[in-house]
Structure formats: structure tokens, C-alpha cells
Symmetry: C2
Subunit: 514 residues, 2 copies
């Protein structure tokens, strides 16, 4: 124990170069998941859960609020009871639908370097999203605004390890009939990543597709050849598919844009208290939603998904990053592999401030998603209060973890040069490798450089103001906004979009449907 | 996205019972590692690293400062140069020694329920240890004292998920010639877990063994039949085995007590900058140290170990919980499996305060150890400043993570009762599982109950003082000390030990050797 402190004599070594050194270059844009996949249940148990989900769809059915969706289900052979809005899906119908769902999807961003390959084995991260509130140490907690929305787009754009552009907060000060113009404009002009489109009725979805298609300069065929945007579809557990969600599935499938289907099921609340029961329910709902996309347009890009965590049974408060959340992620991963589909999983934290609880819950949930083999990990940074707030600082501190995970995706060499017998020969017992040739050739690029971690000793740290990770994170997000680096844009396209939006706004916009 | 907030209407549900509910009972005392083991290198690369380590021991040698140890090495056939204190070990000698190292060790605590099975596949945690400083929010950062040492023993004793009793801080206000009496007395009277003995020369080690043997009421044969205590042996990298460490290996082997061999190697400082190079060096040193135990007493209990992280190449500051640390843990796990020996790995954080950085680094390092398949994960809680300080609060917040990991070790059922078709039948679309029979039968025990996490909503949390996890952790450790729960003790044995210590103290104690 005590002996371990002996090695620390090196810690006060001074900087070997005064200026900036080259940064390690690791590609964070296209990742494959290097972590072994962990089962929580046996194959037989997973098969039984899948079978029970099929039985549920067949016997218990799912309530579908949108008439158009019920009609599509009926046309595919489902038994529909219009008086109760219940749809009963036979397992043959589900099997038929699943057979056309693509196993691999290439989602097109503004540039090919930002395109995303979505399939089992690939790994993408999304920043925490969908929050009504934003918070930061300087401005406090407040309802999400247009300004927050734009700032979050800029912050997400900055980090290569965040692959999809999400709606981090709801811009509540923008009127709802023109909010989709605002969110599209911000995503397209401040970022070159895959944009998100809210499923809030056909008019908004169609307009968003048009803005995107025109801004990217795509024909309709181009636009539909691969998805150029995505949406998230939550079922209303248990067993309800509501109007805007069903409409979104249909609209996205028609235009061959990407739907990520995600029942949001809290064990003990809108799902059974057991992991197996909750994941079975989530699976049944996901199957129905995926089926709707394939009935609408066979081959339409769709991802399987789950977001299953638990509540505190004393208070009903939702929790994230718990053992039950972790296990549910693992079970969902087994289900996704059974289907062979790319899928999304989710992290998160229920903490109210960016403290040790917040960090621990988010990271614990993250490892569940990673070992579950998720293709897309949503809410992987910034989420507080179970998603009611996204924190500017927490995005930054979580980013450190995501970047370190991304470093794990890169291969590590272990040839003779790395085993380094020559270096061992060069350095005598009790000697130091700091100055040896092997180190000198590599010291600028060998290690991951931290984003927000401060490794200085207690004395230096105290002299520098005893600043916590959250305080240091403040400097980082402010600098990102100050630097205001934007992707290259075709100014003519921007102006055309602004004219288009002005015209649509003057015509009254398009209110959301629910 | 926004739709996910709909499920949250349940979060303000009131407590369904006013009184205490039965706690979930999960056995944290005997754990098997449920996580899949992850390689970082190919089998060929691992074989090449092992081969290079053997070549290093054969051609470059290791400096051994203790004459008795050099003699043991020489008697086993090693080439020894007394003028340089260098020992050169042929690969046949290492192979012979490794053949007698036990694959499975049962370490005996005060009760059989606290005994530890140490082998590949079992999982044990140790609190952060060996720190010169202690810190807490109320008393601040200070040199470790006897009071701190005792308090940490009580806190470690409280948590079943901490399996070994370590010397959390150095009790610097206790004179060094009697410090071993103090640390043994505290461990034996305040805890029933496997105690730690410092390797600070034969007199202190022998006296510690005597105190332990007498207090446990063991004959010499009993004492030596299985290990009843453990020590940590750090080599002085690169390639030095110093006097107290070599003496400790010999003394522990002679008495068949447990040595955990751990080269502490920081990449870029006392080890090559590459993961493969650093782990190869660590492996060579561990092989030499393990060999010494087996040459001294074949079959003596010994664990393989590694503690390899990296430094900041700009400042020389050590870092923990980095991608390089993670990869080194994975590589060491591959080495341990090659040998077939139980082994220790280590977590840690370089943060100066219990913030998001501290939580993230410790947990990131932890996952490296878990996926490396470590038998014992050391410094798994409380470590700040790369081990220069142990934080009372960080022990508590890290404990949440360890308990959640321990929950993952328990099997999760997925039979018909858990898949719960009846519950799905009972709850209508848009309904709620909170009150259904399936939930009512399980709500008190289904979920892990958090230790320090606060899942209340922002309003409640604010009304309750906006307290961070560290502040809430303060309440928890203070309550543990206030409750002062002690293991059952034989008062006659305690009095006899006190008389023995008084006599030994009067005789001048035993100074440490270095």
C-alpha cells in the first residue's frame, strides 16, 4: 500500500514543452462496439419472452388511436375492433413485417464523414434530449428556450463522439406552429450531423422533410434512397400507440426516413415490476410499431428500441442507472439480436445536480447499454432529473466518459515496438522511462488527453481556486459557444431556406397534432 | 422525445406505506463476477508479452536488495551477481515456481461468513487504501490519524460489499514502533473481515501474526492451514525488489499467509509508455515476486497483481480511470488467465474533490477491472488524488456503485411468473401496474434500494436543501460511526490482547524496517 506512493515522486515533473503539442487523433465519428455482449437471461428465457410478446399481440392486442394506422394493420391481416380501437396481430403478420425491416441502415448527414452506419455492432451516441428545462451554473434552471436549443446544437456539433443531433431541450418560447421551422433551421445551419424531426403530425413532418430536402439539394428520390433524418417514436405503455406517434411511423416510413421505436417503460409503473415482464411488454409494443412501418412501406428504415428502467416503489419516482435498468438493457439487447435489427438503448440519471450521483448513474446506465450491444445510446450525456433537465455542465463531464469509451474502440498495438524490449534494456533498475527513446517517440500522442479532468495535485488545484469538474465544464461550454465554429454552408441555400421559412410563417405555419 | 415525459406522471405518487418496509436481501459477501471478460490483445500478443517478460528476467534480471532473498533465488538455480544485487531467472525456474502457486485460496476471516474464496471467477472489493491523508466535508483534509484509521475500519466493516479490511489511511500520529499494534487492535476489535498486515520488516510482521493468531485462538498449524491475513507487495518498478517487500514475501510465505503481488507501474514514468510494454514489465516483476514466495515455501498463497495506469506526459501527474488504465487492466487479466492465478487489479481517481470527475474516473477504472476478470479490486472506493487522500464521502458514493455491481452478480429470474402474462392481462391499455397483484406481491423487495442516491423531484430536492450526493454521504458515514455496531467479541480475548500489546509496548515495540 504505502509503497505505491513511491512511484508518485514523478508527479511534480515539470512540463517538457512550453507550447502546444500535437493532439492524439482518434476517429470518434465511426465506432464499432468493442465490448463483449452480456446476456442476462438464457436463450430459452428470451425465446419465451418473445413468444409471450407475440401471444400478447395476438390475444390482448394493442390500442391504436389513429384510424389510418388501424386501416393499415387491418389491410395486413390484423383483427381490428373499431369500437375499442384494439388491434390484434397474429404472429404470422409480425414475422412477415420483420422480414422486410433492414438489418443495416446508412443514415445520411450533410457530409459523408458524418454519415452513420446503423447495424448490430456499430456504436453511436446521442446527447440527452427532450428536456423541458435547461440548466447551467451561470444562468440557473429555466424552461428551455430557443436560445438554449441553438446553444445545445452548437455544443453537440462540437463533439465528434455525439453522432446524432437531438432536440436537447424544448424551445418553449417559440410558438408551436413555427417551432419546427426553428428547430430545423438551427440544426441545418449550426450542424452537419443527422438532424432530428419531431413526429407532431403530418403537416409539420412533411414541411420538415421539405426544408431538409431543399437545403441538402436532394431530389425526392435522393431523399428517400437513404434516411436523411430521424425521429423517436414512444409508445404509450402499456399497449397504446397514440395518434402523433402512429402518424409519425407512417409518415417516416412513407418517405423512407428513420424511425427509432422506443417503448418507454418504467418497471412497477407502466410496465410489470419484473425485468422479464417489462421487457416483454416493451418488446410487444416495439414489434407492433415496427410492423406498422413495414406494412406502410416494406424496407423502410426502422430501429428497434427500449427504454426500460424502474421507479422507486415508495414514491413512484423514476430512477435511472440502477441494476434493474442495466439488466433491462441487457435483456433488450438479447431481443434485438434475436431480431437481428439495429436498436437503441438509453442512459440517464435522476440526480438533480451534476454531482457524484449524476455521474455514477449515467455511467452505470452507459455500461449497461454498451454491454447490451446497443447501436445507438440515447441520453448518453447531460440528463438530470430523469430527463426533465439537460445540464450544460453535465454534457461536458459526460463527454469525458464517452470520449474514453470511444478510445476503447480503437485498436491497441502490441507488436515488438510496443512490448518494447529495447526500452526495457535502455532503462536500468530504479530508472525512469520518461526520457528514453521509446517514450520520446510517442509522448505527444500515446495517451488520451482529458477534456475536463484536472489531474494536478491538491496544492496546485487549491491555488487555482479548488474548482470542481462542473465549474471547469463551464469554461468549456462557454468557449465552444464563443468560438462558434460552424460547418461550411452554401449561403444561397441558407438564404433560400430563410425565405421559405418566412413564407411558411406568413402563411400561418403548421400547428402540431396530438 | 417529449413523449417520454408522459410516463412521468407517476413520479409524484405518494408513499404506499408509512412505516419501514422489508429491505431487499442480496448476499454481497460472496460474489462471482458475472461480466464477460474482454481481451485487449490477441492470444499471440499475450504469449509474446509473456515470453518477453521471461526473456527480461533471464537476460536483464531484477535487482533484489535483500541478501536473504538473493540467497533463496540462488538456491533455486538463479544466477546472482552479488556485486550488483542483480538476479537472473531462467524460464525453467519461473515455470517450476508457478507450478506450485495455488489456483484457489480460501482466506479465513473471523467467521466463516466472512471467509473469502480467491480464484479466477470470484470477485472481491477493497476500499481505497494506503493514503497519507484523510478528508471529509466537516473536518477538511488532514494527515491520516489513528482516529481516522479506526473510523475507516468501522465504515468498511459496515458494508458487506467491501470484502477485505485494508489500511485506509496511515495513522501518522501513532509512533511507528507501535503502529502495527494499533492497526491490528483496531482491525480485530472493530471488524470481523480479513485483516491486513503491513510488510515493514520481520519483527513487525511476526508480532502481527502472533497477535492475530492469539486473538483468533488458533494453533500455529491452524494459522498456517489457510491464510488469516494478507499484505500487498509492490515492486519498485522498473525491476527492483526492495528490502521490506522481499522480506514480506518471504515472511508471509513462510507462515503461509497471503501476499498480493502488485507492481505499481505508471506508463511513461516507471514503465514504458505503451500498454503492452508496461504490462510486460509489470508481469516480469510479478513473476519474480511470485517465484520468491514459492521458492520460500511451495504452495504458499500468493496472488498475481497489477496496477498499471498512465501519467500526464505534460506534467508527470499520475492519472487513473483513463482508457490506458482500462486497457492495461484488460491485458493484465489476460496474463492472469494465462497463469491461471487469482489476481488483483485496481481502480482509483486523480480528482481532488468528490465531484463528477472523481465518480467518473473511479467507475471507469472499475469497469476495466470487472471486464478484466479481477479476483480482487483494490482502491474501489474513496480514493482521491491518486491515492494521496481517502474521502469519507467518496467511500459512500462509490459504495452505491459497488452495491449496484453486486446486485448484477445475483441471478435474475425470467420464468412465467416474471414474464407475467397474467399481469399483462390484468392491466388494460393506458393502465398502471402500480396496484396490480403481480406488483403488490413484489414491491417491497424487487428493486435495489439506493444508499445515497436521491431520486426525489427538483422541487422536493430544493425544499430539502439542495444537498449534493457528498453532503448526503456525510449523514451516512456519521450515522455508521454513531451506531458503532461491532462484531461479537470474546472480551477475555480482547483483554488478553490489550495486555499483550501493553507488554510489547513497554518493551519498546518494534520499529519498521526499510
Amino acid at each position: 500500500m504505502e509503497q505505491e506512493s513511491r512511484g508518485r515522486t514523478s508527479r511534480r515533473r515539470r512540463s517538457r514543452d512550453g507550447g502546444d503539442t500535437p493532439q492524439r487523433q482518434t476517429n470518434y465519428r465511426q465506432l464499432r462496439n468493442p465490448f463483449p455482449q452480456m446476456p442476462v437471461f438464457s436463450d430459452d428465457q428470451i425465446a419465451a419472452m418473445h413468444d409471450t410478446a407475440l401471444q400478447m399481440l395476438e390475444e390482448l392486442g394493442i390500442k391504436v388511436l389513429l384510424p389510418e394506422a388501424r386501416k393499415i394493420f387491418a389491410n395486413a391481416g390484423a383483427r381490428v375492433d373499431e369500437s375499442t380501437q384494439m388491434v390484434y396481430l397474429g404472429r404470422d403478420i409480425i414475422a412477415e413485417a420483420l422480414s422486410t425491416a433492414p438489418r443495416s441502415i446508412t443514415a445520411r448527414a450533410a457530409t459523408r464523414e458524418r454519415d452513420l452506419l446503423l447495424e448490430l455492432g456499430s456504436l453511436t451516441f446521442q446527447c440527452g434530449a427532450g428536456a423541458p428545462h435547461a440548466t447551467d451554473l451561470e444562468r440557473g434552471r429555466r424552461p428551455g428556450s430557443g436560445r438554449d436549443f441553438r446553444e445545445f446544437v452548437q455544443i453537440v456539433q462540437h463533439f465528434d463522439v455525439l453522432h446524432l443531433m437531438p432536440p436537447v431541450v424544448e424551445p418553449q418560447d417559440i410558438e408551436t406552429n413555427i417551432r419546427h421551422y426553428f428547430t430545423m433551421e438551427a440544426q441545418l445551419t449550426l450542424s452537419d450531423k443527422l438532424p432530428f424531426v419531431f413526429s407532431r403530425g403530418t403537416p409539420q413532418v412533411t414541411e420538415s422533410f421539405e426544408l431538409l430536402r431543399d437545403f441538402r439539394g436532394l431530389t425526392d428520390d435522393d431523399f428517400q434512397s437513404d434516411p436523411h433524418c430521424y425521429t423517436i417514436i414512444n409508445t404509450n405503455s402499456p399497449r397504446v400507440l397514440d395518434t402523433p406517434m402512429a402518424q409519425g411511423l407512417i409518415d417516416f416510413a412513407k418517405h423512407r426516413q428513420l424511425s427509432i421505436v422506443t417503448p418507454f417503460t418504467l418497471m412497477g409503473a407502466m410496465a410489470p415490476i419484473t425485468v422479464a415482464g417489462a421487457v416483454t411488454l416493451s418488446h410487444a409494443e416495439a414489434l407492433a410499431a415496427i410492423a406498422l412501418t413495414q406494412m406502410t412501406n416494406p424496407g423502410a428504415p426502422v430501429m428497434y428500441g427500449t427504454f426500460t428502467s424502474n421507479v422507486d416503489m415508495k414514491s413512484g419516482a423514476p430512477a435511472f442507472g440502477t441494476p434493474e435498468h442495466f439488466k433491462a438493457s441487457l435483456a433488450a439487447g438479447q431481443m434485438a439480436r434475436l431480431l437481428g435489427l439495429p436498436w437503441r438503448c438509453a442512459g440517464g440519471s435522476a440526480a438533480n445536480v451534476n454531482d457524484a450521483q449524476a455521474a455514477n448513474e449515467s455511467q452505470f446506465a452507459l455500461w449497461g447499454c454498451l454491454m447490451a450491444g446497443a447501436t445507438t445510446i440515447i441520453h448518453a450525456a447531460g440528463w438530470l432529473e430523469g430527463g426533465l433537465t439537460v445540464s450544460y455542465e453535465k454534457i461536458i463531464t459526460d463527454m469525458e466518459v464517452l470520449q474514453m469509451v470511444a478510445e476503447m474502440c480503437a485498436p491497441t498495438a502490441a507488436g515488438p515496438d510496443e512490448i518494447a524490449l529495447d526500452a526495457h534494456r535502455e532503462v536500468m533498475p530504479s530508472g525512469h522511462f520518461f526520457g528514453c527513446a521509446h517514450t520520446m517517440a510517442r509522448y505527444q500522442t500515446e495517451f488520451y488527453q482529458p477534456l475536463v479532468a484536472d489531474w494536478s495535485n491538491f496544492g496546485s488545484w487549491t491555488e487555482n481556486g479548488s474548482r470542481t469538474a462542473s465549474e471547469r465544464a463551464t469554461d468549456i461550454w462557454k468557449k465552444i459557444l464563443r468560438d462558434d465554429v460552424r460547418p461550411p454552408l452554401d449561403e444561397a441555400k441558407v438564404e433560400a431556406m430563410h425565405r421559405d421559412i418566412a413564407k411558411r410563417t406568413a402563411a400561418g405555419g403548421a400547428p402540431p397534432e396530438s
